[in-house]
C-alpha cells in the first residue's frame, strides 16, 4: 500500500513538470504580455525596454528554468497585471470556488444517487422513464446555456433568486464564506445548480446501471427472501457494491469542478479562481496562468490518489501490491 502511494506521488511530480513545460510552450504562441504591460501609447523602443525589464527577451529555456527554480522555493512571481504575488492572488479566490464546487458536488451526489436508486427499482414506470428522458437534457445542454436559462427564469421572471455575485459574506480569518448568511446561501443556489446538473445526471445514470446489475445478484434475492426491510436491502446491501464507480466519478468531478468552473463563474460573476484564470488569459498574465495550471494539476492529482486509497479501504478485494 505504501509503495503504491509512493509510486503515485513520483508519477504526480512528473506530471506537474510536464504540465509547466506545456504551459511555457503555449505561451510562445498565446499572446504578448508586453502588450498588457506597456500601455497603448508606448513606442517600439519603450516596449523593448519593458521586455528587458521583465526578462521577457530571454530565450524560453532560461525563462522556464528561472520559473522552476523560483517555484521550488515557493515564489511564483508577481502578476503582470496587478503586481501582487501570484500565489496570494489565487489562494484569495480559493474559498469562493471551493464553496461553489463543494455544494455542487454534494447536490450532484445526493440527488444523483437518490434519483438513480429510485429509478432503478422500477425502471419501466412512467415517472422513472420521464426522469431518464430528462437526464438526457442534463447531459446535452451546455453549462452556459443552463446558467443563462436559470438566471432568466429565477432572477428575471420570478425575481426570487439573485443573478450574480456572492452576496453578503462573512470573513473568518482568511476564509470568506457565503454559507453563514441567508443572502450568501441564496447567491450560491443558481451557480451550484448550474455546475451540478451535468454531474448529477451522469451519476444518476451510473447509479441506475450499477443498481440494475446488483439487484439481480443472488445475494440480493437471499436478502429479500430473508425478509429484511426494503431500505436495508437497497442501501446496506445493494448500494454499497455500486459505490466504487460512483465514488470514482465524484472524485474526478470534484477535482475538475474545482479547477475549471470557468464558464459558470463567468456567467454568475462568481469571484473564484476560474474567473481569475479567464481574465488572466485575456490579459496574457502568464505568471498567474502558469501557476494556476500547476495548482490545478496538483489538486486533481491529489484527489485521484485519495480516491485510489478510498477504493482500497472500501473494498478489501481491491488492494494494490
Amino acid at each position: 500500500m505504501v509503495t503504491f502511494v509512493f509510486r503515485r506521488l513520483i508519477q504526480g511530480a512528473f506530471v506537474l513538470l510536464g504540465v509547466t513545460l506545456i504551459c511555457f510552450i503555449i505561451f510562445r504562441y498565446m499572446g504578448d504580455p508586453v502588450q498588457t504591460l506597456a500601455g497603448q501609447y508606448a513606442t517600439t523602443a519603450e516596449r523593448e525596454m519593458i521586455r528587458q525589464t521583465f526578462g521577457l527577451d530571454q530565450p524560453a529555456y532560461i525563462q522556464y528554468g528561472r520559473f522552476l527554480a523560483n517555484a521550488a522555493q515557493g515564489n511564483f512571481g508577481l502578476s503582470y497585471v496587478s503586481r501582487v504575488p501570484v500565489l496570494g492572488l489565487i489562494v484569495e479566490r480559493f474559498p469562493a470556488t471551493f464553496e461553489l464546487a463543494f455544494l455542487a458536488v454534494c447536490m450532484a451526489f445526493v440527488i444523483g444517487l437518490g434519483l438513480g436508486v429510485i429509478v432503478s427499482l422500477r425502471p419501466y414506470a412512467l415517472r422513472n422513464r420521464l426522469i431518464m428522458a430528462g437526464s438526457l437534457a442534463g447531459i446535452s445542454i451546455p453549462t452556459f446555456l443552463i446558467g443563462i436559462l436559470l438566471i432568466m427564469v429565477f432572477a428575471v421572471w420570478l425575481e426570487i433568486l439573485p443573478p450574480f455575485g456572492r452576496g453578503d459574506t462573512v470573513t473568518i480569518g482568511f476564509w470568506r464564506t457565503g454559507l453563514l448568511t441567508l443572502d450568501g446561501i441564496r447567491h450560491l443556489i443558481l451557480p451550484a445548480t448550474t455546475l451540478a446538473l451535468y454531474q448529477l445526471t451522469v451519476l444518476m445514470r451510473l447509479t441506475r446501471a450499477g443498481m440494475r446489475e446488483v439487484l439481480a445478484e443472488e445475494y440480493i434475492k437471499t436478502a429479500w427472501a430473508k425478509g429484511l426491510p426494503p431500505l436495508k436491502v437497497i442501501f446496506k446491501h445493494a448500494l454499497r457494491n455500486v459505490m466504487i464507480p460512483v465514488i470514482t466519478m465524484t472524485g474526478l468531478q470534484f477535482g475538475e469542478i474545482l479547477a475549471f468552473s470557468i464558464v459558470t463563474e463567468t456567467i454568475f460573476q462568481w469571484p473564484g479562481m476560474g474567473n481569475l484564470l479567464l481574465t488572466s488569459i485575456y490579459e496574457s498574465d502568464q505568471p498567474v496562468i502558469a501557476t494556476y495550471i500547476m495548482l490545478a494539476a496538483l489538486m486533481i492529482l491529489t484527489i485521484n490518489i485519495l480516491v485510489d486509497i478510498l477504493y482500497a479501504l472500501l473494498n478489501p478485494k481491491i488492494r494494490y501490491d
Binding site: M30, L89, G165
Partner: protein, 505 residues
C-alpha cells in the same frame, strides 16, 4: 456529544446574527470591465482610469468636454518646452496628508518606472520637473509636445509619503488620493464600495455611497438591471438594445462614442492597394449605411475621418465617398484588376462592438466587386501584438485619442514606421506616404494653436480624401441603461468614464 452539538448550533446562530446585511448603496452600478489595480498609473485603459478618477485627481480635469483646473488652479506655457503650474492650496489626501508640489514631482517621476506605470511614454517625454515653492511646479519636456496639457487629466497625483512607505502590492489595493470618493472595500472579482470624501476640495459629492459591480457577461449584466439588483449599467450590447428600450422600467441613455472604427490598408509597392484607384474602389464598395443599420442595429454613426468632433484636427467639411459598387468595379478595371484580386482581412473578435460581424460584412461587400477576402479573426491578445509587429496589411481597428489631438494619433498610426524615432508604432499595415509625413512633422513645430489646428484639418482632408490612407467606417455608440424610478441624473461622458461626483439623484 449533546453539549458540543449545542455549542456548534449557538456559534452558527450567533454568526448568522453577526453577519448584518449591508445597507444598499445610494447608487449601484454594473460595468463591463473589472478594475485591474488601484494603482492609478498601473493601467492606461479607459476602464481602469474610469474608476481611478473617483479616487484621484490630476492637475487638470475634463468636464463637459473642456479642460478645467483641478489640482492646478492655472497654468502657463511660456515657451515651447515649458509648462508652469500653480497648484491649489488647502487640499488633503484621504489619509490627511497635505497636497503640495512634492507630490506632483513624485507622481510624474514615478511614471518612468515600468514596474508600476503604463505611462512610460509620458514619463519619458519629460526632461525635468522643478519645484519652485510648495505650490508652484515647472515641467520641461524634451521636445515640443502641443498636447501635453491635454493629457494631464489622465495622470493622477499620488501622495509621496504613503506611496513610498508602502509596498507595491498595498499601493495596488488601497488607493490614497485627493479624489471625491474613498475606497471602503474592494473584493477582487466581486465589487467595489466607495464612500464620499466629505473634505473634497470641490465640495462633497451628492451621492454618498456607490457600489460598482463589474459583470463581464453581458446577459448577466442585463439580468442584474432588469431584476432591479443594480440601478445603472454601462456598456449595453447592441443585441440587447431593443429589449432594453422595450422595457418600461428602464431608460436608455445614448451618445456617439469617441472611438472610430476603420480599416487599415497598407500601400506596399507591387500590391494592388498601392494604386489609389484600388483604394477608392474598396472604399466605395462598402455599404456603410447598411452596416450601421443591420450589423450595428442603428447604434453607430458613419464617419469620413478618424478624429471625433472634440479632437483638434476634426474637419467638419469631410464627407464619405458614396456607396457605388458599379463605380468601384469601373475603377478596378481601370487599375487593371478587372478580375479582382485576393487579400486577407484581419480583425479582433473580442475588442470592439460587433468587430467580427463588421469584418464579415466588409468581406461580403468586397466580394461583390470581385475582391476575394480571406478573413483572419482572432482574440485581441493575439491580434494586437501581431498588428504591432506589422504582420497584417489589411485589418480592422478602432482608435480614440485620450489627449484629443489628431497630431498625436497620426504620429502613432499613419506616419511611416520609424522605430528609432518612435513613429508609426501602430502603423501595422506599414502604410507610407512622404507627403503625409512631411505635413505631419511640420505641425509638430507650430506654436500657434489656431495655425496648427488649421494645418491638421488640411492634413486630415489630404489623408482621408486624396490619399485614402484608411477606409473609415463609423463611430460606435455608447449605450447606458438606468432604472427609471431611481431618478438618476446622468450625462454620459465622451470618454465613457463613470465620474460619480457628476451624477446626482
Amino acid at each position: 456529544m449533546k453539549k458540543t452539538m449545542l455549542t456548534l448550533v449557538m456559534v452558527l446562530f450567533l454568526s448568522f446574527m453577526a453577519a448584518t446585511a449591508m445597507a444598499a448603496a445610494d447608487l449601484v452600478v454594473a460595468v463591463d470591465t473589472p478594475p485591474r489595480t488601484m494603482n492609478p498609473h498601473g493601467s492606461d485603459a479607459d476602464s481602469n482610469l474610469s474608476i481611478m478618477t473617483n479616487f484621484f485627481d490630476g492637475l487638470l480635469q475634463l468636464t463637459d468636454g473642456k479642460f478645467m483646473p483641478a489640482l492646478a488652479e492655472r497654468y502657463e506655457h511660456p515657451d515651447t518646452l515649458t509648462w508652469k503650474f500653480y497648484l491649489r492650496k488647502g487640499v488633503t489626501f484621504h489619509n490627511g496628508n497635505t497636497f503640495d508640489a512634492q507630490d506632483v514631482k513624485y507622481s510624474f517621476e514615478r511614471l518612468n518606472d515600468p514596474e508600476v506605470s503604463e505611462f512610460t511614454n509620458t514619463g519619458k517625454s519629460i526632461a525635468s520637473i522643478e519645484v519652485i515653492d510648495d505650490y508652484t511646479v515647472i515641467i520641461k519636456t524634451k521636445e515640443h509636445i502641443p498636447w501635453f496639457a491635454n493629457n494631464l487629466h489622465q495622470i493622477f497625483i499620488m501622495d509621496k509619503e504613503s506611496t513610498e512607505s508602502r509596498d507595491v502590492g498595498d499601493v495596488g489595493q488601497k488607493p490614497i488620493g485627493t479624489g471625491a470618493y474613498k475606497l471602503v472595500e474592494w473584493v477582487k472579482g466581486s465589487y467595489l464600495r466607495l464612500e464620499a470624501n466629505e473634505n473634497y476640495w470641490e465640495g462633497a459629492p451628492p451621492i454618498k455611497t456607490v457600489e460598482i459591480n463589474p459583470i463581464t457577461e453581458s446577459s448577466t449584466r442585463f439580468a442584474a438591471l432588469v431584476s432591479g439588483k443594480v440601478d445603472m449599467v454601462s456598456g449595453v450590447p447592441v443585441e440587447l438594445f431593443d429589449k432594453v428600450t422595450a422595457n418600461p422600467k428602464l431608460e436608455v441613455v445614448n451618445r456617439p462614442a469617441r472611438r472610430a472604427i476603420f480599416l487599415s490598408l497598407g500601400n506596399a509597392s507591387g500590391t494592388p492597394a498601392a494604386d489609389i484607384r484600388v483604394r477608392k474602389a474598396m472604399y466605395m464598395a462598402i455599404d456603410e449605411d447598411e452596416i450601421v443599420a443591420k450589423v450595428m442595429r442603428g447604434q453607430a454613426t458613419p464617419t469620413a475621418q478618424l478624429p471625433d468632433e472634440a479632437t483638434i484636427g476634426y474637419n467638419p467639411d469631410l464627407k464619405r465617398y458614396p456607396f457605388d459598387p458599379a463605380a468601384a468595379k469601373q475603377l478596378l478595371k481601370e487599375a487593371g484588376f478587372e478580375n479582382g484580386f485576393e487579400i486577407t482581412l484581419a480583425a479582433p473578435n473580442d475588442r470592439y462592438v460587433q468587430d467580427k460581424q463588421i469584418a464579415e460584412a466588409v468581406a461580403k461587400y468586397l466580394a461583390k466587386v470581385g475582391i476575394k477576402v480571406t478573413l483572419d479573426v482572432k482574440p485581441k491578445s493575439v491580434f494586437f501584438p501581431e498588428v504591432g509587429e506589422g504582420k497584417h496589411a489589411f485589418y480592422l481597428i478602432g482608435w480614440l485619442d485620450g489627449a484629443f489631438d489628431m497630431g498625436r494619433t497620426y504620429f502613432n498610426l499613419i506616419h511611416t514606421y520609424d522605430k528609432d524615432r518612435g513613429y508609426g508604432t501602430w502603423n501595422g499595415a506599414r502604410y507610407s506616404d512622404p507627403d503625409i509625413d512631411k505635413a505631419l512633422e511640420a505641425t509638430a513645430d507650430m506654436v500657434d494653436q489656431d495655425t496648427r489646428a488649421k494645418a491638421l484639418q488640411d492634413l486630415n482632408r489630404m489623408t482621408m480624401m486624396d490619399k485614402i490612407a484608411w477606409i473609415p467606417l463609423h463611430y460606435q455608440q455608447d449605450i447606458y441603461a438606468l432604472q427609471k424610478d431611481k431618478k438618476i441624473r446622468f450625462n454620459p461622458r465622451a470618454d465613457m468614464w463613470m465620474v460619480y461626483k457628476e451624477i446626482s439623484k
